[in-house]
């Protein structure tokens, strides 16, 4: 048990002492601040028709718990789904494999480690929710239990299940991270739709939010005398704020059966871990590297020495074209080859799907499939340890960074070509411009977040959230013109992209000066 705790502690410390974790924590805090809209805000997060609750302890406690449960389940998966991968790349896994620790214990330690990370963020959001109460409350009494109970009953079991799911996905799909991301994306969407608009059996609700939302709807029904309170909205909705009416939400007494269901989800998590431990590779991974085969070939070669003085002379050439070419090749070749099958299906869909569907739905999904490629655009030097070469190269900032940005944009536009051609046939230059700018924006975002966080995760998480909101047609996050094509929008995207690129250039420049 002591060894297990030491394993957990070291895992937790190693992960929380990282720069990406701090950035994620800051972003989570900023997002948590928006969970409860300020009184004069023009958006709502949870709303039942025209109603939302008075800002009492119950409303703030439960609303922030619902938002945290959904938000952290979505983002948290991407934050923690590489625990085993890190042990493989750091070679710690090979050491662990030789110890007495069982597969189940190891996977359990990973799941609990994930849970501790997510719980840390949830705790910070919890503190923020209490602060929000004191900022926004207009004389309602502070009831600490109305904060603790929803977080304990709703948030923690959800996070534990997501933590286990991250390990489960890694065991079975660890070598295909992109598939992990995509499958979870669809699984999450399915769960959310089912939880909030499908089943009425609260026990089947993974996020545990349906029972609270039902109670909120019931409270609204009681005061409005309307039988059917349609119009429940969860998430950031703009407009209709002027008509807002308020109702007193007084919390919920969770039935015993519901509490048992929350325990059952945790139990299912343990079962999934047990199942995964049967198939866990225990770091006996098939190596791609086959030295014997290649070395045998070498033995047949007649060896000759290098005659330095007789080597052909080379010329100076500061063109960026060869760099763009190789950066593009690296982008195309990264990831599994079968992903290109998905890309081709996506590109074909862009050719034949109705124009609005192709632009609004297929394009953001097709671009999201490139998440791993773009996230490694400016981080691969550190990942592959080639930064010694690149940083010692001739004018690395002006030449290499530029070529990386251009190659990333080329990939975006190449994939969007059928859509661009269709708009060109229609002479719809406004939509063509929005797609071009969308490509520039998403690559700029990948570059700036990669440089800022020195890792891939932050961009992956934000791109995932962007894509999710894009598919749900939230106008604010529409970066590729699926919904807008006004001049003001084009201008805004251009300015934001330029700003992101300037920030990237500046930070990398400082980075190079400080090395």
């Amino acid at each position: 048990m002591k060894k297990f705790i030491i394993l957990l502690k070291s895992d937790y410390l190693q992960r929380t002492r990282s720069y990406p974790f701090l950035i994620t924590l800051c972003i989570s805090l900023a997002i948590a601040y928006t969970f409860i809209p300020p009184p004069d805000a023009t958006y709502s997060t949870i709303r039942i028709g025209d109603y939302q609750g008075y800002y009492n302890s119950e409303w703030i406690g439960y609303v922030t718990a619902i938002m945290t449960s959904i938000f952290l389940s979505l983002v948290g998966f991407y934050l923690v789904n590489s625990g085993i991968k890190k042990d493989i790349s750091s070679k710690i896994g090979q050491i662990i494999a030789t110890t007495k620790i069982s597969n189940f214990q190891y996977l359990l330690s990973k799941a609990i480690g994930n849970f501790l990370i997510l719980s840390t963020i949830a705790f910070i959001i919890f503190i923020m929710s209490i602060l929000l109460f004191f900022i926004y409350s207009t004389g309602y009494p502070f009831k600490i239990l109305q904060f603790i109970i929803p977080y304990a009953v709703i948030v923690l079991p959800s996070l534990l299940f997501i933590s286990v799911l991250a390990v489960f996905f890694e065991v079975f799909l660890g070598r295909i991270p992109v598939l992990q991301n995509i499958l979870f994306f669809f699984l999450f969407s399915l769960i959310l739709v089912n939880d909030n608009f499908g089943t009425k059996e609260f026990g089947w609700d993974i996020f545990g939010t349906r029972i609270i939302l039902d109670q909120m709807e019931e409270s609204v029904r009681e005061i409005s005398n309307i039988e059917n309170t349609s119009g429940l909205s969860i998430g950031y909705a703009l407009g209709n704020i002027s008509k807002t009416k308020y109702f007193p939400f007084e919390g919920i007494h969770f039935p015993g059966s519901f509490l048992l269901s929350r325990l059952a989800w945790m139990g299912l998590g343990l079962f999934l871990l047990g199942f995964a431990s049967i198939f866990f590779h225990r770091f006996k991974i098939k190596e791609r590297f086959q030295p014997k085969k290649i070395e045998n070939v070498l033995k047949t070669v007649i060896k000759s020495d290098i005659n330095i003085s007789k080597l052909p002379k080379i010329e100076k050439s500061f063109m960026v074209l060869p760099l763009i070419k190789t950066e593009f090749v690296l982008l195309v070749r990264s990831g599994h080859k079968w992903l290109w099958v998905l890309n081709i299906i996506g590109v074909l869909s862009l050719c034949f799907a109705p124009l609005s569907v192709a632009h609004q739905i297929i394009l953001p999904i097709l671009w999201f499939l490139q998440v791993s490629r773009w996230s490694s655009l400016v981080t691969k030097e550190k990942n592959f340890n080639t930064h010694f070469f690149t940083f010692a190269s001739y004018r690395p900032l002006r030449r290499l960074l530029l070529s990386q940005v251009i190659s990333g944009i080329l990939l975006a536009l190449l994939l969007a070509t059928p859509l661009l051609v269709r708009y060109l046939i229609l002479l719809d230059f406004a939509h063509i411009t929005t797609i071009l700018l969308g490509g520039v924006f998403i690559v700029s975002l990948a570059v700036v977040l990669g440089i800022l966080s020195n890792g891939k995760k932050l961009f992956e998480i934000i791109f995932f959230m962007l894509t999710y909101t894009n598919i749900n047609a939230i106008p604010f996050t529409d970066y590729y013109g699926g919904l807008h094509h006004h001049h003001a929008y084009l201008m805004a995207i251009t300015i934001v992209s330029a700003f992101l690129l300037i920030v990237s250039y500046t930070i990398r420049s400082i980075e190079l000066k400080k090395i």
């Binding site: 002379k313 080379i314 050439s317 060869p322 090749v329 080639t386 010692a392």
Partner: protein, 286 residues
């Protein structure tokens, strides 16, 4: 061609120094950097390669301050880092073409130069295969090839023989000897045999400081008449090591043959011919 390192320090957090008040000057030829792990060899090479900046001091190449103008160094640098990586999805040709573009070189003869380098480093047969499939030694040779791509005037090799087999080491030493005819070569290692056969001068480092820099003969002469060998029992070794600087031990059944340093002429010990390894161990252990 002259490289001047003047009072260079690299301070990390707290009071820890990677390099402390380090000065060195080198002209054409091979300088061997010897030192135990953590001596500051890689830190020094990184600073010369301009991928790490000194906290204090100056580095000049041909009187050009390369800290202020790193591109002056980049144009003529060939650098093989100790712990470098490669892009596993590229083959050797593609990787070297990429490296050439990074270094700002090209021209019609580039492909031929790459082909000859790969041939000389015995990689032609696998040059079209992804580097991800290469063994450690093959990756090391790719690293050597990229360092020689741009006809460098200053070449830095940080632990270059890691992963090379004995035959490859010999070939590598020959290569360095030829390179040194018209450029500066700095070669770091903690393996004395990598250095003693080729280095014109040797700099021995410890804890971020330069202990000595001189020709091999001068360094070896500093411990001439101080290296002895004797045979003692296994039980006596701990007491013996407390009073002497031990250079080497060889187990022989119940006894141990001990090679050690002594300022006086001890009884029952045989005077031995000093080597560079003896001098290195003496300087870094005392």
């Amino acid at each position: 061609m002259k490289l001047d390192i003047q009072n260079v320090s690299k301070k990390y957090s707290g009071k820890k120094y990677g390099l402390k008040d380090y000065s060195l000057s080198i002209e054409k030829g091979i300088l061997g950097l010897l030192g135990p792990n953590g001596a500051g060899k890689s830190t020094l090479l990184k600073m010369i390669a301009t991928i790490s900046k000194p906290t204090n001091g100056a580095i000049h190449l041909n009187k050009n301050n390369i800290i202020k103008d790193p591109n002056y160094m980049h144009k003529q640098l060939g650098y093989l880092p100790q712990d470098f990586g490669v892009y596993p999805n590229l083959n050797a040709y593609e990787f070297l073409e990429y490296m050439a573009a990074l270094k700002g070189i090209g021209g019609t003869q580039l492909k031929q130069r790459i082909a000859l380098l790969l041939e000389g480093l015995n990689l032609t047969e696998v040059a079209k295969k992804p580097i991800g499939n290469y063994s450690g030694g093959m990756k090391q040779r790719i690293g050597i090839a990229q360092a020689l791509l741009n006809h460098p005037k200053i070449v830095l090799f940080d632990e270059p023989t890691v992963g090379l087999d004995p035959e490859e080491r010999v070939r590598f030493r020959n290569l360095i000897s030829e390179l040194a005819n018209d450029c500066i070569v700095i070669l770091s290692s903690h393996i004395v045999s990598d250095i003693d056969t080729i280095a014109d001068e040797v700099a021995i480092m410890k804890d971020g400081q330069l202990l000595t820099k001189a020709s091999q003969n001068t360094i070896v002469d500093s411990i001439k008449d101080k290296v002895y060998e004797t045979t003692i029992t296994k039980e006596a070794i701990s007491g013996f090591s407390a009073n002497h600087v031990i250079l080497n031990t060889i187990r022989k059944k119940e006894n141990i043959i001990v090679r050690y340093i002594s300022e006086e002429n001890p009884k029952d010990s045989k005077l031995c011919q000093a080597t560079l390894e003896d001098a290195y161990l003496y300087l870094t252990k005392r």
